[in-house]
């Protein structure tokens, strides 16, 4: 640090300096402030003093460019080295690549949505502090989607199931789950967006998304993914801090904000958890070497870490979201039920599934002693029998979907100890019946029915004739999923054949 030659020059504290560098706005007089910031009042959140906002991190643009530039130089050096050395050969097994396919098609587009969403709220809040913090996150999220594309671009050159990720995200049935989750947040007002993404997703759930993917990558020899993941995580740490600051700010500004915020926390923790079902399946089934089970991750990152967070928020009158009990009751069933569903409907999904081998099933028995051998091993044994007969099971049916989370209605009544009975909740609105996987999804719908009747439900869209035709080949063509290339079981796939050639096993 260079000190000025003059001794009388005041040294600014970081806090003051940052304040001068960011408090740049003014009360408009030629246009009404409410016209300039038309979206930050209608949700009913009351803000009396925008200046009470505490900046989470105090990074000016020059420091941002400097540190981010340095981080990206390192990251791209590794991405380049990975490609040059054909690092994809060093992974544990080509089955692992399906986890990456799920990531690029299901998660990366959400990073893009977060980019646009934070740019939007960074424009809409009338306070300078939150606007600056939100725009830094907006540009970070652009970084994430782009580094993910660049990392996985190399895999796309060799493996199927990546090439049409953008087209798929807008169309393929299960991708409407993550897409509708983010569309939901993006179409909400700016404060709800902050609770949905900034707090519930980034703070409460992000460790459950990224850490499992990245430690999974580390366990399975995928250095490129570990690197982009960890590099992105350093931004996430800033984002988490922003999410926490945003919620505290809202709660401190007015007691009337508390019930609204609580409602959003309840809603968005549940919405986020439903999307994480994909991560649960990835952790327990798609990783050839699993560092941790879904149940363990949930216990560590939600049940332990989040308790500390909600203790901190208790003084405002905020409670742990009411869905925590349901999630906890489901934790020994979730990943198995999701994997079963994808195994069954794999003809229409552009990644591979497979039956767990003996080693994997033993690991699952160990991690899920109360459920695996009793309920799920028999399922796989039944399907293994069919496979041996050359009749690998693919359902020809289309599942009933939940109107809110859009996941097939596969969730069972674990909370009432009836774990093999699917939950069916329903309500009517505007003369039509709507179906839900849970009371949580039903409640979300009933709060804003006009919003959720608009769900673009893939199954219904197929039946309406909006997806290329009535048969599976028609729909796959419309999806741009190449039959026998992108979909079906790993066994017999091109990915498997190539992998075996690489390994000299062909």
């Amino acid at each position: 640090m260079t000190m000025g030659t003059k001794t009388r020059k005041k040294r600014l504290s970081m806090k003051d300096k940052y304040k001068y560098m960011t408090r740049l706005g003014w009360e408009t007089t030629y246009q009404d402030m409410d016209d300039v910031f038309p979206e930050d009042t209608f949700e009913g959140i009351k803000i009396h003093d925008w200046e009470a906002w505490e900046d989470p991190f105090r990074m000016t643009m020059d420091a941002y460019w400097k540190y981010q530039g340095e981080k990206d130089k390192k990251l791209y050096a590794i991405i380049d080295a990975f490609a040059q050395n054909n690092g994809q050969k060093n992974i544990t097994d080509a089955r692992y690549v399906s986890a990456l396919k799920l990531f690029l098609t299901g998660v990366s587009p959400l990073e893009y949505q977060a980019h646009r969403g934070f740019a939007h709220v960074a424009r809409q809040f009338r306070g300078d502090g939150p606007r600056v913090a939100c725009q830094m996150q907006a540009i970070d999220e652009l970084r994430h989607v782009q580094t993910q594309i660049h990392t996985l671009s190399h895999y796309n050159k060799y493996f199927n199931g990546f090439s049409e990720w953008s087209h798929w995200h807008d169309r393929v049935w299960y991708l409407s789950v993550p897409k509708s989750f983010f569309d939901d947040a993006r179409s909400a007002g700016p404060f709800e967006f902050m609770i949905a993404i900034g707090f519930s997703f980034e703070y409460v759930l992000t460790n459950l998304l990224f850490v499992p993917f990245m430690s999974g990558a580390a366990y399975n020899g995928d250095m490129a993914t570990v690197t982009f993941g960890f590099s992105a995580q350093s931004d996430e740490a800033r984002h988490m801090t922003l999410g926490l600051q945003a919620i505290k700010f809202m709660l401190e500004q007015d007691p009337d904000n508390v019930p609204v915020v609580q409602k959003w926390i309840d809603k968005w923790t549940w919405r986020g958890y439903k999307v994480l079902g994909l991560v649960a399946m990835m952790m327990d089934y798609m990783l050839p070497e699993s560092p941790q089970s879904w149940k363990e991750a949930w216990e560590l990152y939600f049940e332990e870490n989040t308790v500390a967070l909600f203790k901190d928020l208790e003084r405002y009158g905020i409670k742990i979201p009411d869905c925590a009990g349901t999630v906890s009751a489901e934790k020994e069933h979730l990943s198995h039920q999701i994997w079963m569903t994808f195994y069954t409907h794999n003809a229409a999904a552009p990644f591979h599934t497979w039956l767990p081998d003996e080693k994997k099933m033993d690991w699952l028995s160990e991690k899920y002693p109360n459920t695996f051998d009793k309920y799920y091993r028999p399922v796989y044994e039944q399907w293994a029998k069919l496979e041996k007969e050359g009749k690998r099971y693919y359902s020809e049916m289309l599942p009933q979907l939940c109107q809110t989370c859009q996941i097939p209605m596969l969730y069972t009544d674990c909370e009432n100890e009836d774990p093999m009975q699917v939950v069916h909740k329903m309500t009517t609105f505007n003369g039509e019946r709507f179906h839900f996987c849970s009371d949580h999804c039903k409640n979300i719908f009933e709060e804003e029915p006009e919003k959720y009747v608009q769900s673009w439900l893939p199954v219904h869209q197929i039946f309406q004739g909006n997806c290329g035709g009535a048969t599976l080949p028609d729909v796959l063509k419309w999806y741009k999923v190449e039959p026998g290339v992108d979909n079906f079981d790993y066994v017999g796939s091109q990915d498997e054949k190539m992998w075996k050639e690489w390994k000299g096993e062909a």
Binding site: Q382, S395, Q400, M420, M426, R433, H435, K451, W456, Q464
Partner: protein
């Protein structure tokens, strides 16, 4: 609670019955037979006899379950639920005459068949 929007918010019914080319949506689920992951969705003519549902529609889905061939739909052992309320379908009558309208859920329970491993799979 009502939706809080900034301006007038439209009600856009994405799945109203008129969009299904004369069909209506019907969901069918088999209680405690989790091998079939979820209830399945079918676009069906409202005039289809309930018996045809059993004879033609359901096997396409449930043939995949080894217990399905043991289900006896004739002896009254099957418990039917329409939109979560118990009901007794008239197999001769049409879906709509049986009260099965657009986006109805038909569940059937087979108390004597307990699924694979006897645990509801």
């Amino acid at each position: 609670m009502a939706l809080v929007a900034k301006a007038d918010y439209p009600t856009i019914m994405m799945d109203s019955v008129d969009k299904f080319h004369g069909n209506q949506l019907v969901y069918i689920g088999w209680d405690r037979h989790k091998l079939i992951n979820s209830a399945m969705a079918f676009p069906l003519p409202p005039q289809m006899p309930f018996g045809a549902l059993i004879a033609e529609v359901m096997p396409a889905c449930y043939k995949d379950h080894p217990e399905f061939e043991k289900v006896n739909f004739e002896d009254g052992s099957v418990v039917w639920r329409l939109n979560n309320e118990e009901f007794t379908p008239d197999f001769e009558k049409s879906l709509i005459e049986n009260g099965v309208d657009h986006k109805s859920l038909i569940r059937f329970e087979t108390p004597h068949l307990t699924g694979i491993n006897g645990v509801g799979i």
